[in-house]
């Protein structure tokens, strides 16, 4: 929004404003359902973390007021993200953590060539498969529209938050809890995890640096990992560099970009963004005309109850899309070529298909082989190698 500030022309009595500020502030504090971390010493002063973003990136960040990002918190989160003992177990066969399924080299998705999960389909410690394929962890600090394919982790879940201040379904912090306890993931329990992490000598110093005291709690574990995940920001793909005037795209890549951003072309941009939405997703939910029968108990409809959400899933970001296959919530497409073929001639009618799928009468965009190749070339410009190799996001060397 354009902001126009009116210059003050009169003297203003500040006392009521100050009083109002304190009243508002204290009210806000009361509304915070999380118990305050009372163990922090007065001298505790962690280093605030700032994101230095390009001009075309969103400025509104989704950071909970009770978990500001700090250098120390992110560093602790990085260790926990990569520490297999987060599962609450120490046997080499039972180690599992966030990084087990979210690999940096695959843009923090599982990747189709995962060394353990054949075809990129993860399963938990006891062999139970995850309900859906993995979504990449990237640029989530800009997302306010819920997490997971169906958006069931959402800030609107206040009723759960009030009843259970630590184990809720609101944000990235919630996903840490889910990861620890879910049968299709670590299948552990929080107390066991806290106990184990607390028993590892190196963590005392890191918890103290991040939170003021060495005490290990589940709340702190989840907050630190969430901070690290929020720090996973990607803005240095070839296309970003093109936007900033640092490189030129090839003719084929530009042709692909035009196809991407035109209705007469492939019309990808309404759901997946473009230069003016560099997240390459709206983070909204669409039925993209993959099916005519819907029986997934975890689609968007399962969360909203709105019949028009049948078969709808979050539009995944196309950042690093080259690396984040297999594609769709059920991993039905192994390659980007298959995805492009689907949008070109594989659309299936259902009453629940999103109206943006206006190419349905032709079963898709009907792209020529050259156009498909151009679109593929463009999509590969969204790969951010500095993100997938950034040491700040990598496994700590001493872990």
């Amino acid at each position: 929004m354009k902001l126009i500030f009116q210059p003050m022309k009169r003297k203003i009595n500040l006392i009521p404003i100050i009083l109002l500020f304190f009243v508002t502030f204290s009210t806000c504090k009361k509304e915070n359902p999380l118990p305050p971390d009372n163990d922090k010493p007065d001298s505790f002063n962690p280093t605030p973390y700032t994101l230095d973003l390009p001009f075309y990136f969103p400025t509104v960040l989704n950071i909970p007021p009770d978990n500001p990002m700090t250098i120390e918190g992110i560093e602790l989160g990085r260790y926990l993200f990569y520490d297999g003992r987060l599962s609450g177990r120490t046997h080499p066969d039972s180690l599992m953590t966030c990084a087990t399924c979210h690999l940096q080299e695959y843009g923090f998705s599982t990747g189709i060539n995962h060394p353990k999960f054949t075809g990129g389909r993860p399963f938990g410690l006891t062999g139970i498969q995850t309900p859906h394929y993995t979504m990449p962890l990237v640029n989530l600090v800009f997302n306010s529209n819920g997490y997971l394919w169906n958006g069931m982790i959402h800030e609107s879940n206040d009723f759960l938050y009030e009843n259970n201040p630590l184990y809720h379904r609101r944000n990235i912090e919630s996903l840490v809890w889910m990861g620890i306890v879910a049968p299709h993931e670590m299948y552990g329990n929080v107390d066991q995890t806290v106990q184990l992490i607390a028993s590892i000598p190196m963590y005392a110093e890191k918890f103290e640096a991040a939170f003021g005291t060495p005490e290990v709690t589940y709340e702190r574990i989840s907050k630190a990992i969430a901070q690290f995940v929020r720090s996973l920001v990607s803005f240095d793909s070839k296309f970003d560099k093109y936007l900033r005037g640092e490189v030129q795209l090839t003719t084929q890549e530009l042709q692909g970009f035009v196809l991407f951003t035109t209705e007469s072309g492939a019309d990808c941009f309404h759901c997946h963004g473009a230069s003016q939405n560099p997240l390459w997703t709206t983070n909204l939910f669409y039925n993209n005309a993959k099916d005519s029968i819907f029986n997934d108990p975890r689609d968007r409809f399962a969360f909203t109850g709105d019949v028009m959400d049948k078969g709808a899933y979050k539009s995944p970001t196309l950042r690093n899309i080259e690396l984040t296959g297999p594609y769709m919530h059920d991993g039905r497409f192994s390659t980007l070529e298959e995805v492009i073929d689907f949008y070109s001639e594989g659309l299936v009618f259902s009453p629940y298909a999103n109206p943006l799928m206006h190419k349905l009468p032709d079963n898709g965009a009907q792209l020529t082989p050259n156009q498909k190749q151009a679109l593929l070339s463009f999509l590969k410009t969204l790969t951010d190698e500095s993100f997938t190799t950034n040491p700040a996001f990598s496994k700590p060397a001493d872990l």
Binding site: M1, Q6, P58
Partner: protein, 266 residues
């Protein structure tokens, strides 16, 4: 030559003197009221029911509406003496989304000088000067971007729905308005399809310290009605690259909006 110069000067003075409309000082007035706009969406006089194939437009298309997202901007409050007040102190462009209730109320920041106003006008969409890419970087406004290759800036509106074609097949329409293109042999001419809406029967009186709620209604059927009967079977599902379709739609926009001062009486 001297006579021409004198005539030009006199003519300029005359034009300036005849120009009645003067902006009202936007500085803080001594006595003022506040305005709250509420946005409603109706079809044939009844509140819009989304996702239901039940409406018939002027062309006879059976259709439904799934969602509407749009901008209005440069709202002007007119006085009978030709003076006017621009709403622009904090926000001069407002986004409305049928899926986001918070956008359907606009608590105007401005302190509006009290008194009698003869009418309300606004720009549907965003004017050519302001409609620049990257001026919104945050959702939901940023999701309204209009691709640079098609002229850039932002959609004025996305009205998405479905209709039944003559073969009884359900087809999808993206009634999207924004900058149009006319492709020449050498260059592309971009056409700014935004238009001014003069709300009929929008005179009102604002008292000192009063907050007036003004309902603005989008009468959806009028997008397809007059002066152009808009037939989805003719124009098809996508029109962002069809300036003729967008022009027809924009011409129809003149009477799409109406005002309702009784909308929100408590």
């Amino acid at each position: 030559m001297k006579n021409i110069f004198t005539t030009a000067v006199l003519l300029s003075i005359l034009i300036c003197a005849c120009k009645k409309e003067k902006p009202i000082d936007n500085n803080q007035p001594d006595t003022y009221g506040k305005i709250e706009f509420k946005f409603f969406h109706k079809v044939d006089g009844l509140p819009l029911v989304t996702d239901t194939l039940k409406y018939i437009n002027e062309a006879g298309n059976l259709y439904e509406v799934n969602e509407i997202q749009y901008f209005i901007s440069d709202v002007v409050l007119h006085r009978a003496d030709g003076s006017f007040y621009n709403i622009n102190q904090w926000q001069d462009i407002h986004y409305v989304d049928t899926d986001i209730p918070a956008t359907q109320t606009w608590n105007v920041f401005d302190k509006i000088p009290d008194g009698n106003y003869s009418g309300i006008s606004f720009t549907f969409g965003i004017n050519a000067q302001k409609n620049q890419s990257f001026m919104f970087v945050n959702p939901p406004e940023s999701f309204m971007f209009w691709p640079d290759v098609l002229g850039g800036g932002y959609h004025y509106m996305k009205l998405n729905g479905k209709w039944q074609d003559p073969q009884q097949q359900i087809r999808f329409f993206n009634f999207h308005l924004g900058i149009g293109q006319i492709y020449g042999a050498q260059d592309t001419i971009y056409v700014h399809n935004h238009f001014q809406v003069n709300l009929p029967n929008s005179a009102f009186t604002l008292a000192d310290k009063e907050t007036k709620t003004i309902g603005i209604i989008m009468n959806i059927e009028n997008w397809f009605k007059s002066p152009n009967i808009y037939d989805h079977n003719f124009w098809g599902g996508d029109i962002m690259e069809n300036q003729d379709a967008m022009q027809a739609a924009s011409e129809n926009g003149h009477d799409v909006f109406s005002v309702d001062f009784g909308c929100c009486n408590k």
